[in-house]
Symmetry: C2
Subunit: 223 residues, 2 copies
């Protein structure tokens, strides 16, 4: 479903450069569940942003279902993201002026889904992450783990074919973390591709395949 | 050193109210190392903000070294915070336009410490958290775990007598998490009081005392 071919991502900072990804090649089949691990600063979020069509490689190609994402217009890329990809960001990126319900409705609003259906599906998604008593709270009126769960609800509500979750349990206790992973895995069993970045070995071991990064490179996979 | 007496914190959201803390009483002796655990939304960050003089109780008292913080003027509270308290926020609150060095220098700038000394101490603190090659990166040019480490460096650089760390390892791999905890524990051995909120049982078990919360209340302590 997805192929990265010799992908490089190089950032400029003043006079120097940071090679965040160095010749990364990766193939992910449709419907796979994959964990991505590695030390802080090793390039995981950078890799996820390229997979999510939020960033382009400096060199190399990203093929999504055979289409070279680098050759798409901004509009085509944006449509691809909207329809196919759900992203749980490491730091959520919720809109501060919308409440939990409004934040989860947002992707559906962009997709032109009618109001009644938007509201119903947003409520269901928030209920699935245990937040039905927090629908009218804005992000600054929520705890850290509650914000994380709103971000998860927002990512899943469009039932995307590719789910990218960057540290989805970082702010959650054991029990909420388990519920979140069960939700993501249920979506995976329904056929969606799932990639989870995590520092938690317990979360990582829930996936049949674990890919590790170090200093911008993918390491040899075990097994 | 610190005493909370029957502390309540009640938030208003529209028509309803959220009782985030319900009659919490807690005593922490000078130089203690304490872990605070509990489910997402149970009131940990709310408790930490009151301990850090960033928020006031709705009812009850907070005594810092015998002084009732509720009776201090805003200016006195602000001075107390600046001199005595270091806070690692769950979501860091770094200033986006300052680089890592500038962010860590900030508390010293407020304290009127001269430029040369500020620079030297900021470099040392960032070196202690493994970021000496990222001094000139702004927060948006840092990974999640790197931002967390800048927040830690900033909290410790003034050598405060009370260190409050809200999920300081949430975005860190095992090895970086270990280094951060060793840094905080070294400061604790030097006499500073250390309170760590964490969802990670391994991090919690490093403290001689673990306090648990549930739904706004402190539970009976074991041992
Ligand atoms: N916009 C940017 N400009 C310059 N350097 C950057 C930028 N974004 C990230 N970096 C650097 O690229 C490297 C990889 O960052 P990335 O966010 O992908 O790491 P990560 O593996 O997600 O880390 P973490 O586990 O801490 O979240 C880091 O060393 C970081 O400092
Ligand atoms: N400004 C606010 N207005 C209304 N409710 C709030 C506000 N801030 C927090 N809350 C609510 O108070 C409760 C406690 O929040 P708090 O942030 O202290 O939880 P926490 O234990 O730190 O959770 P986490 O582990 O998820 O970070 C939550 O249920 C939250 O929804
Ligand atoms: Mg990251
Ligand atoms: Mg919290």
């Amino acid at each position: 479903m997805i192929r990265l071919e010799e992908v490089w991502r190089i950032y400029r900072v003043g006079e120097s450069e940071v090679q965040a990804l160095k010749g990364v090649s990766l193939e992910i089949r449709r419907g796979e569940h994959l964990s991505l691990m590695g030390p802080s600063g090793s390039g995981k979020s950078t890799l996820m942003h390229i997979l999510g069509c939020l960033d382009r490689p400096t060199r190399g190609r990203y093929l999504f279902e055979g289409r070279d994402v680098g050759t798409l217009s901004d509009e085509e890329r944006s449509l691809l993201r909207q329809r196919e990809i759900g992203f749980v960001f490491q730091f959520f990126h919720l809109l501060p002026r919308l409440d939990a319900l409004g934040n989860v409705e947002l992707p559906m609003l962009f997709a032109g889904i009618p109001r009644g259906e938007r509201r119903r599906r947003a409520r269901e998604a928030l209920d699935a992450v245990g937040l039905s008593d927090r629908l009218d709270h804005r992000p600054d009126q929520l705890s850290g783990g509650q914000r994380q769960r709103v971000a998860i609800a927002r990512a899943v509500v469009m039932e995307p074919s590719l789910l990218l979750a960057d540290e989805p349990t970082g702010n959650l206790d054991r029990s909420s973390a388990g519920e979140v992973m069960e939700l993501l895995e249920a979506l995976n069993r329904a056929g969606r591709t799932l990639v989870v970045v995590t520092h938690d070995p317990e979360v990582a071991s829930r996936a049949p395949r674990v890919v590790r990064m170090s200093d911008g490179e993918l390491l040899e996979e075990e097994g």
